[in-house]
Amino acid sequence: MKKIGKQTIKFENPVNILNTACIVGPKESDGPLAKYFDKCLEDEFWGESTWEKAESKIIKETVNTAIAKSNISQDKIDFCFAGDLLNQCISSSFGLRELNVPFYGIFGACSTFVEGLSLGSVFVESNVAEHVICCTSSHFCSAEKQFRFPLELGNQRPQSSQWTVTGSGVAILSKSGDGPFITHTTVGKIVDMGIKDANNMGAAMAPAALDTLLTHFKDTGRNPSYYDAILTGDLGYVGKEILIELSQSNGYNIKSNYNDCGVMIFDKDSQDTHSGGSGCACCGTVFSGYVYKMLREKKFKKVLLMATGALMNSTSSQQGESIPGIAHAVSIEI
């Protein structure tokens, strides 16, 4: 493991992604990627009395599914990295309080999944852990309540707003295995271009995504065509277009192999989510469900997964603060 360039860590013994799991909510179950998910819920409460409890149950059951799928016992997992969007990350800490695994609670807003993969890889590569579990969750209803307006108010959503994905994505990293492998991680910087609209996260996060993307190419000496797919976490339709344009003006054409998880998870015409999906689980479920399977089937061989996060809270937006963005990337190859 060594640092190359300004912000990138190269793993000399690439870290194996042993297995993944994901559970999604009802709207995601109607989307184009439904067949790749482990479990599709019909009810956003999943039998619980509150959305927060439902979200905790989703992350807990997804972790259990991932452990069961990877055929290792729970006590073989050395560390857990988890985070979500709710205040003080209660979905993760409440959902995983019975997991009995050393626990790091992390917050990177919607970039949490890749932040976890990045940190987990460092732990595995540095020989302090054999297995690390990285997980994240989000829930449309609990996120709307916290960041925008309670659903009881029946507010209309503006066209630039995105739909928080209900679900959880989990990946188990291990020292050895037959891939796919995490070979590099580029750790993002906080970038704030002064966007203040909490209903236009894509525009707020796109400059951060650009910064990490350009730095990744510079640090590794690669260019966009090296990858079969470059995927951002949740820029949505608005942010995706902005990133394509910004990259173009910086001399990188990513148009042909770039997509955004928020664009992929919902059908634009039939599901009317406005600007696409968002939330920690957006990148988490699309990777754990779709991308991981594509890598295992070798339909993708080289993927740059870059989760984007908006580092604001409801107080900061009520006080008129701008939204700082961040993007963390991992390069995954098989």
Partner: protein, 128 residues
């Protein structure tokens, strides 16, 4: 039969158009500006109170009836009108008493029915 014959269809039409126009203004503000719904609601109440205080809103009510009183601007108008009337009766203190007094029926009904609704219904994920 008397009921149907006594309906003023022309007033109904005016009511529908004026009420609709006020709501269209709200919709345009939601779609085309960055104003949050909460701010738009407060603005509607304030505008209603100002127009009511100046006596302009009453003309709209005379013209369109419920088309002008039911939207939130009508609530603002009721606040202003109540305050002005109460000042006439009990002096300057009326400016603080009159508004809520005039609107008390609406406020209490909103709280009461809101509570009833919260007992019988459960919020769900929106379809879009």
């Amino acid at each position: 039969m008397d009921f149907w014959q006594n309906i003023n269809w022309f007033l109904m039409l005016k009511c529908f158009i004026v009420g609709g126009l006020i709501c269209i203004i709200g919709q345009i503000l939601i779609d085309k500006t960055k104003l949050t719904p909460a701010r738009i609601l407060v603005a509607f109440v304030t505008i209603g109170a100002i127009l009511g205080g100046l006596g302009i809103y009453q003309k709209l009510i005379d013209f369109a009836g419920c088309g002008a009183t039911v939207p939130l601007t009508g609530f603002g108008n009721a606040l202003a009108k109540g305050a002005i009337e109460e000042v006439g009766k009990s002096g300057i203190l009326g400016a603080f008493i009159g508004g809520t007094k005039a609107a008390s029926g609406g406020i209490a009904a909103a709280i009461f029915f809101g509570y009833i609704a919260s007992l019988v219904s459960k919020p769900k994920m929106k379809k879009q």
